[in-house]
Symmetry: C2
Subunit: 366 residues, 2 copies
């Protein structure tokens, strides 16, 4: 059973196809898009080792002339230098305006491939085949593409939309478990900020900590609903002028924790999980939602084997300072996305440091 | 007397202000755009030496916090490496989404600054202050930005629109004369492809070969009409799907000559002038327009001290081969933009090599 989400934006539209166990069909899904003959697949050695052959055979069978280029795995390679190498390969194979760059990988490969596609010949076709849960439910949609500057994440980039996002959830079977859980943090986020049904579906599962522990049909639904949530939000606000900010639920504190721990101890998903726990408690303190709902959220976090507390070596004042440095601060006031119900949040511009400190102190591992 | 052209595109709009002798007012023109406080001026040492101080003082007076960064003059610096340096400076001065990159220079500076603006933080404000005639009437409008790849011109880039184009024609007084004439080739092009009035205005002038020989009010009008012509065409076809191709009038043969002479002997404007002469004669051969009109066109080319013939060391077969390599070739047929009247052209997809050869042989210096 496959699902299709139709994404309609002011000046373009595309489909997200979620189709389990059909990676070998990806080529067929491209034939109706009237792409040129040439496709350059961008991947990393890990992912390509598992799925490269299947994808390339499928594209060949569908009549495309296929090339590939691998970038070493990891965020440290998400650089302008890697993009420059993609340009060289694009030139070598004489890619044309009608040609396509296809991203086969997690968010790192997706963000880079999108940026290269946005800027080669001022924009060629771009197709996403996300292989990590985070890329499936988050990074592959919304049009943000880019690379890191040595001194800051995602500082270089462009808004650029794919022609197709093709998701085969079965590729998650080889995803390292910690990466799986990181993606699940974003899934839980969508339940809290947007989709009560999704939230309840997650509550119905015994465990959310690995693919093996989740019914496969349920997994497909979870991915589909998460994609739909992101698309709903982004379609209303393609260039991040307003409502899109709610996607940053859990990310205010999350980013502070990531940066304070040097992006090594805890990963993005773990940081977001803690961030959601903090945001939930702040909302309770402010009388915006109820204790019982925070508990339901924190239960999902636990089922995904994600943390909702953090090490007491991190000091609350440090975290507060780090918030001030973050982009989410407007004129010294900290902006928070806070839940008001399951499936609903509000943007609050000026949360006092007292409330934040109180919650941070409560939440620490004693 | 200043003119304002209002450019309205599907998802953005901006003004082109042509205002002689008012460079010191540029800051005021920015205040109504609701830009953030920080402006980073990008220029080259030649241009900055003449106009940097005036622009920076003007911006400071208008209340902006101004930084600048210079890139050595010349096409060889139109590289990703130069962009990378702009990023470093943008980071150093903590430019924000609301900040502005301002291009003060010719097309090289404009193209690079636009690309940096398009890609820093996924897009910040961009203002053009073109200082060469070519940049005023061509490069600064239309949204094409980018840099060269070591193996090909303008291969890396993005479509990105400025918030304002501010033109003070008086800065042309310091422009090298050969650059002035190169810009005049594009002006004549607009007369032929789009604006009969402009064409007649050019015919009314005794000489078009330097700023000194042209009445200043007439010069302002020429620039305004040229900008309007480009805007008219581009507004109908922002992403180059159809009619925009007519802007390539004279460029089919032009590009072949530029590349065959290694981009050194003749410059872009000279190549375009010869290209227009060739196109005019092909149109006569095909019975599309009249001998008398070709002569009127070639007269303008001569008044601008531009060439309408080329050295007989270049062989016609070489030129034909070079056309085949060009992007303008679709399935072996050479595409030409050919005039049908003063102010009117048509796109013809398949011009035979016989006709092209005959005209090339006629046109050579004997
Ligand atoms: N563009 C956006 O809107 C957006 C949103 C969120 C995150 N991001 C970006 O996404 C990146 C993070 O994405 P990510 O979490 O996917 O990281 P990632 O791309 O580094 O992938 C994580 C790891 O899993 C491996 N992997 C991926 N799929 C696999 C599979 N099926 N089998 C085996 N191994 C697999 C990868 O090789 C990598 O080692 C960051 O750079 C972040 O900035 C972008
Ligand atoms: N984006 C577009 O749509 C578009 C269109 C046409 C051309 N272009 C690009 O524009 C570039 C050519 O532009 P260009 O002809 O302006 O070249 P340029 O920017 O190199 O300027 C030509 C020379 O004139 C000098 N100069 C410019 N203004 C001056 C002034 N007022 N006084 C003294 N010196 C001055 C410059 O320093 C340079 O040495 C090419 O890179 C081309 O690809 C872009
Ligand atoms: Zn996230
Ligand atoms: Zn030109």
């Amino acid at each position: 059973m496959s699902s299709i989400i139709d994404v309609t934006l002011p000046h373009t539209s595309y489909n997200i196809v979620i189709s389990p166990n059909t990676l070998e069909d990806v080529g067929n899904h491209l034939t109706s898009l009237q792409l040129g003959k040439k496709i350059l697949v961008i991947s990393n050695p890990e992912v390509f080792n598992h799925y490269g052959e299947t994808v390339i055979n499928s594209l060949n069978k569908a009549g495309f002339k296929v090339f590939y280029h691998l970038i070493p795995a990891g965020e440290t390679y998400k650089t302008l230098e890697s993009i420059s190498q993609v340009y060289d390969v694009a030139l070598k194979h004489r890619l044309e305006r009608s040609s396509t760059l296809l991203a086969l990988g997690g968010g790192v490969i997706g963000d880079m491939t999108g940026f290269a596609a946005a800027t080669w010949l001022r924009g060629i076709n771009f197709v996403q085949v996300p292989t990590s849960l985070l890329a499936m439910v988050d990074a592959s949609m919304g049009g943000k593409t880019g690379v890191n500057h040595p001194q800051g994440k995602n500082l270089i980039g462009a808004f650029y939309q794919p022609r197709l996002v093709f998701i085969d959830p079965m590729v998650l079977k080889t995803l390292p478990i910690r990466e799986f859980r990181a993606g699940m943090a974003e899934v839980i986020k969508y339940g809290v900020i947007w989709d009560q049904d999704l939230f309840q579906q997650l509550e119905a599962e015994k465990k959310l900590d690995s693919l093996e522990n989740i019914d496969l049909e349920v997994m497909d639904k979870i991915i589909t609903k998460s994609c739909q949530a992101k698309v709903d939000v982004v379609s209303q606000d393609e260039k991040e002028a307003g409502i899109r900010a709610i996607l940053n639920y859990g990310h205010t504190i999350g980013h502070a924790l990531e940066s304070l721990t040097g992006y090594s101890q805890i990963n993005h998903g773990e940081a977001v999980a803690i961030g959601m726990a903090v945001a939930g408690k702040i909302a309770v303190k402010l009388g915006m939602w109820q204790e019982g709902k925070t508990e339901r959220q924190d239960n999902l976090i636990k089922k995904a084997a994600l943390p909702s507390t953090f090490d007491n070596k991190l000091k609350s004042p440090e975290i507060l300072d780090s918030l001030q440095l973050d982009k989410k601060v407007k004129a010294g006031k900290v902006r928070f996305i806070l839940p008001t119900d399951i499936g609903q949040v509000e943007i609050r511009e000026s949360i006092s440091s007292e409330v934040i400190t109180t919650v941070l102190e409560e939440i620490k591992i004693k």
